[in-house]
């Protein structure tokens, strides 16, 4: 190590900040959409999901990065799947023990973190070729980028669909008396897709570089 980089050098910090906007895993890299849509009816499960993904993604990135020179490339998918699956089992057991109601709500989607494309995508694209500390930062950054979209989507769906935020009523009673009603459609699956579509639209009209050619 001749020119040792500081632990939080500018390049390293970019690994965390890039996924938040211009390299966002959901809206730009198109990874991990499945769970992003299904867990966003309320904010609380969305936040818990974000932390679960962060735990799995950061740790699996580090582990794979440590093992990157020993894994034969032919069987790397299986090795990655086994590591990720073991981490997900830990998360699932923890959720069942400490957040039972949320774990019921998330149901199969905790298990589906295993095949969440964010994880496999980052393992393949980043952890297999980079050092553990960089892989760790990349994991945290991508999980945060994923979480931001989840929280934005669930914020709107919960506010418009149920009139609550984190389970507390925020829309005053007088609104309801004046004839306002919660939009039940926001809770149903199709609106998650349309909300993400609108987020992508807004993001791309702000950042012209992301516009697709065709």
């Amino acid at each position: 190590m001749k020119n040792k980089e500081p632990v939080f050098s500018k390049n390293n910090l970019k690994l965390i900040t890039n996924p938040l906007s211009k390299d966002n895993p959901i809206t730009v890299q198109v990874l991990g959409i499945c769970s992003a849509l299904a867990v966003t009816v309320q904010i609380k499960p969305a936040v818990i999901m974000t932390f679960s993904v962060m735990f799995v993604l950061a740790l699996s990135n580090v582990l794979i990065s440590f093992l990157r020179k020993t894994i034969p490339s032919r069987i790397r998918i299986i090795v990655q799947l086994i590591i990720v699956a073991s981490l997900v089992i830990i998360v699932n057991e923890l959720l069942k023990a400490y957040f039972f109601d949320v774990s019921k709500q998330l149901s199969v989607f905790v298990g589906l973190i295993i095949t969440n494309c964010i994880i496999m995508g980052r393992l393949e694209a980043f952890a297999l070729t980079n050092k553990p500390w960089l892989a760790f930062l990349d994991g945290i950054g991508n999980a945060l980028g994923y979480g931001i979209i989840l929280i934005i989507v669930s914020f709107f769906r919960e506010l418009l669909g149920a009139g609550t935020i984190w389970g507390f009523h925020v829309i005053p009673e007088c609104f309801y008396q004046a004839g306002y009603e919660n939009n039940g459609l926001m809770i149903l699956p199709p609106m998650a897709l349309i909300t993400i579509g609108v987020i992508i639209w807004i993001q791309r009209s702000k950042n012209k570089n992301l516009i697709e050619e065709k």
């Binding site: 809206t27 198109v30 990874l31 991990g32 959409i33 499945c34 769970s35 849509l37 299904a38 998918i77 299986i78 799947l81 086994i82 699956a85 073991s86 997900v88 089992i89 699932n92 057991e93 149901s107 199969v108 298990g111 589906l112 295993i114 095949t115 969440n116 494309c117 496999m120 149903l188 699956p189 199709p190 609106m191 998650a192 897709l193 349309i194 993400i196 579509g197 609108v198 992508i200 639209w201 807004i202 993001q203 791309r204 009209s205 012209k208 516009i211 697709e212 050619e213 065709k214």
Partner: protein
């Protein structure tokens, strides 16, 4: 028989993997640019789901579930291995995909050429693992129910991806606002299709 048909129709229209649970969304968005490739991936998904769901059903009921091991000896009836189900299911899926790939390569080279590039992708497709996890949650009584469920879910997925691909082929000729092109409009189209599919909710034969 009627009961099985009910499961089949329900898994295609009511519990459609894409429109009601968003499973397999990543490859659904990535591979739906043309109808031809979409059909290839869709058929591969049907194939693998029809095989893995019943295999995982057997695994769940004879090894993993609480009391499932009592066929060996009655002293095993308190053993509960269900916390292992994620790792077992994913291992079964990954090895099944490998096996199916080898068998197809040997016996049907034409089919292999069509499905070839899609099969390895399928091991990490959430629709496949999701199919098994929903099978576990729904607690089917017989293996034929599980098989029909797997097949039906696959057909539902195939149906969804072909429809989207057909719409996207048409969309290339329409005038869409630049920031909405590509991914954005695809999301909104899928959302509208999901709205239409909600019309099937509550159907029972």
């Amino acid at each position: 028989m009627e009961h099985l048909f009910n499961i089949f129709v329900k898994s295609i229209f009511v519990d459609n993997l894409i429109f009601s649970t968003f499973l397999g969304m990543c490859s659904y968005l990535a591979v739906s640019k043309t109808v031809k490739t979409a059909t290839g991936l869709g058929i591969a998904v049907v194939f693998v789901l029809t095989i893995t769901v019943p295999v995982n059903y057997l695994l769940e009921n004879y090894i993993l579930k609480q009391g499932a091991l009592s066929w060996i000896d009655s002293s095993f009836k308190d053993v509960d291995l269900s916390f292992l189900s994620f790792i077992m299911f994913i291992a079964v899926i990954a090895s099944m995909v490998q096996l199916v790939e080898m068998i197809i390569e040997k016996y049907s080279p034409t089919l292999y050429n069509q499905l070839g590039i899609f099969l390895p992708l399928i091991a990490v497709n959430c629709a496949i693992l999701g199919g098994s996890l929903f099978m576990q949650q729904k607690q089917f009584n017989t293996i034929s129910e599980a098989t029909v469920y797997g097949f039906g879910s696959g057909i539902g997925w195939l149906f969804a991806i072909i429809t989207l691909a057909a719409i996207r082929e048409k969309l290339t000729y329409s005038n869409i606002p630049a920031p909405l092109k590509g991914l954005g409009i695809t999301f909104i189209v899928t959302g509208l299709m999901a709205l239409a599919f909600m019309g099937f909710m509550g159907i029972k034969l």
